[in-house]
């Protein structure tokens, strides 16, 4: 199995042929097409958009609109005005928790999250529940790390105002049944909020067909730049949602006593937008679309299946999460009593980049009964050889720590 795209598309990987980058769940490397698109915006059409007193500003406005349209196409959203451009998934989820949550969650209401959430889809809801005097309920997981849908259906009631869950677990790679969970939320009149940070980069997402109310994702995990992301919502939800931040661009008119809001998407994008970030994300969407998201998903599934077999066959290794057939390109594991940080340091000596620690998911770590795990994650520029190098480095770490 070869890489899905040439490593030479990625300047950093070309410049470091010995580097085995297995941390794409934290952030992905950038193809030259993305960097070129951002640079081109700065070099040819750069001005502040939405201030169209001159042609250059109009061109910048156009670049921003074209980028939004491309991003909307990628996410299967017919109405680009329902794609709010944010700083990333954390920003998007905080916007919904604080703006929608403050307007709609009252004392005695309930917010449900799953036990496998990244802190970005856990802490904002926990905090808004504390602030509003609402109950904060954690939905149990199946043995494979997905939300337990049966348990969720039992928990959800008319008091439930929000059900927040991940598309794909950043630790386990477990894939949640998004539409099923969204249907449970709809059944009780709750808002369904899906953290797509680990979903959108790795499999096709058609927002309009998912049935979920809110979907959030980050550009930097899907070949795009840091500091850019999306908050996608159904129009009636976004229309009714109060602004998250106020300031320039998001107003219709500002009186001495009161202010009226601009239309979507501007109402939810206060201040000068990150146009270069949007242009970069759009270029990443185009790059991924050219490969085909089905091909991306197939490549990763094949690779993670191979990695699962090879890594779990090593003595003393425990792989966490679902079986090889049911997971996205993430492999979390522990090796005997070797602390994941020590393992990562030994692997780093061989040029292998993995993540070690709690992966910003301490509630899940408690449920798994581990303090930390090592995590290897795969993307379009990885191949079987990367897995082989990982396996031999784990064997070598075992020798350092006298396990072999």
């Amino acid at each position: 199995m070869m890489t899905l795209v040439p490593r030479s598309d990625f300047s950093l990987l070309s410049a470091n042929p010995g580097l085995v980058y297995l941390d794409s769940a934290a952030t992905s490397q950038k193809p030259r097409a993305v960097l070129d698109a951002m640079n081109d915006f700065y070099e040819t059409d750069y001005a502040n958009p939405h201030r169209g007193a001159y042609a250059l500003s109009a061109r910048a406005t156009e670049r921003y609109a074209v980028a939004r349209a491309a991003i909307a196409r990628f996410f299967g959203v017919k109405d680009p005005e329902c794609v709010i451009l944010t700083r990333g998934t954390t920003d998007s989820l905080n916007a919904v928790a604080s703006a929608w949550g403050r307007a709609n969650v009252r004392a005695g209401d309930e917010i449900i999250v799953t036990g496998a959430e990244h802190h970005a889809n856990f802490v904002p809801w926990q905090q808004i529940a504390i602030e509003r005097g609402a109950r904060f309920t954690i939905c149990p997981l199946t043995s494979e790390g997905q939300a337990d849908v049966e348990a969720l259906a039992g928990l959800a009631s008319r008091r439930t105002k929000v059900i927040a869950f991940n598309h794909v677990s950043n630790v386990l790679g477990a894939i949640n049944p998004v539409s099923e969970i969204a249907a449970i939320a709809r059944g009780v009149g709750a808002l369904s909020v899906c953290d797509g940070a680990q979903g959108a980069p790795h499999m096709p997402v058609r927002f309009d067909a998912l049935g979920v109310d809110i979907y959030a994702a980050s550009a930097h995990k899907m070949l795009g730049p840091m500091g850019s992301g999306v908050l996608i919502g159904r129009r009636e939800i976004l229309e009714a949602m109060p602004p998250y931040q106020t300031g320039g661009d998001m107003i219709a008119s500002v009186g001495d006593e009161r202010t009226t809001w601009n239309v979507l998407p501007h109402k939810l994008e206060a201040g000068t937008p990150n146009v270069a970030g949007a242009v970069g994300l759009a270029a990443a969407c185009d790059y991924l679309t050219a490969i085909g998201m089905d091909a991306v998903a197939a490549h990763e599934r094949a690779l993670v299946r191979y990695a699962y077999e090879r890594v779990s066959a090593i003595d003393d290794v425990r792989v966490h999460g679902p079986s090889a057939l049911e997971r996205s390109g993430v492999l979390s594991f522990t090796v005997g009593e070797i602390h994941p940080h020590d393992l990562a340091t030994v692997l780093d000596e061989r040029g292998i980049c993995i993540r070690a620690g709690h992966h910003c998911a301490q509630p899940l770590m408690r449920r798994l009964g581990v303090a930390a795990t090592a995590r290897a994650s795969f993307y379009v520029y990885n191949d079987e050889n990367d897995v082989e190098l990982l396996v031999s480095a784990i064997e070598s770490a075992k020798r350092v720590f006298a396990l072999a």
Binding site: D342, G351, A371
Partner: protein, 160 residues
């Protein structure tokens, strides 16, 4: 890439496998908790103070080989020291771990930690027990008292 073979020396591996002074101290007078928010590693340190002198010390915690070996050696070394002597050793160790130290000033076992200075992401592992000791000596609480685990010794400026 880092030269880890120099870091994981036998003395560190040995203290990791068989940590000394490991477990709660029954007659402790001070208890302090240290957390490395970067990795979630935790450590509890117990001291039995006899006036100005550390009569006994122990620790317990989940951590990597570096932090565990560091805590194991530290608790052994500070037994019998006065506050001032312990403070000086804390300072010397911090200098060593950040590459500013002079090896000759240090007990030989601690010199094994010189390697972490080349691994910025692991410095915090090595110094966590020492930061915790520093907090314990400055304002540690009686064990089991109110807020015994409320005010943690945290690494400043650690990134998530």
């Amino acid at each position: 890439m880092a030269d880890t073979s120099a870091l994981y020396q036998e003395v560190i591996l040995d203290h990791n496998r068989r940590p000394r002074n490991y477990g709660p101290l029954a007659d402790a007078t001070v208890e302090e908790r240290g957390i490395n928010p970067l990795c979630g590693d935790e450590l509890t340190l117990w001291l039995r103070m006899d006036g100005d002198r550390i009569a006994d010390a122990s620790f317990l915690g989940s951590g990597c080989a570096i932090s565990r070996a560091s805590a194991s050696m530290m608790t052994g070394l500070v037994k019998g020291m006065t506050r001032a002597e312990a403070d000086l050793l804390i300072e010397r160790f911090r200098e060593l771990a950040t590459g500013k130290g002079v090896m000759d000033d240090l007990p030989p076992a601690l010199r094994a930690f010189a390697g972490v200075a080349r691994l910025p992401q692991r410095v915090k592992c090595a110094v966590l027990p020492w930061h915790t000791l520093h907090s314990a000596l400055e304002g540690g609480r009686a064990p089991g008292g109110p807020g015994a685990s409320g005010s943690d010794a945290r690494e400043r400026g650690a990134r998530e």
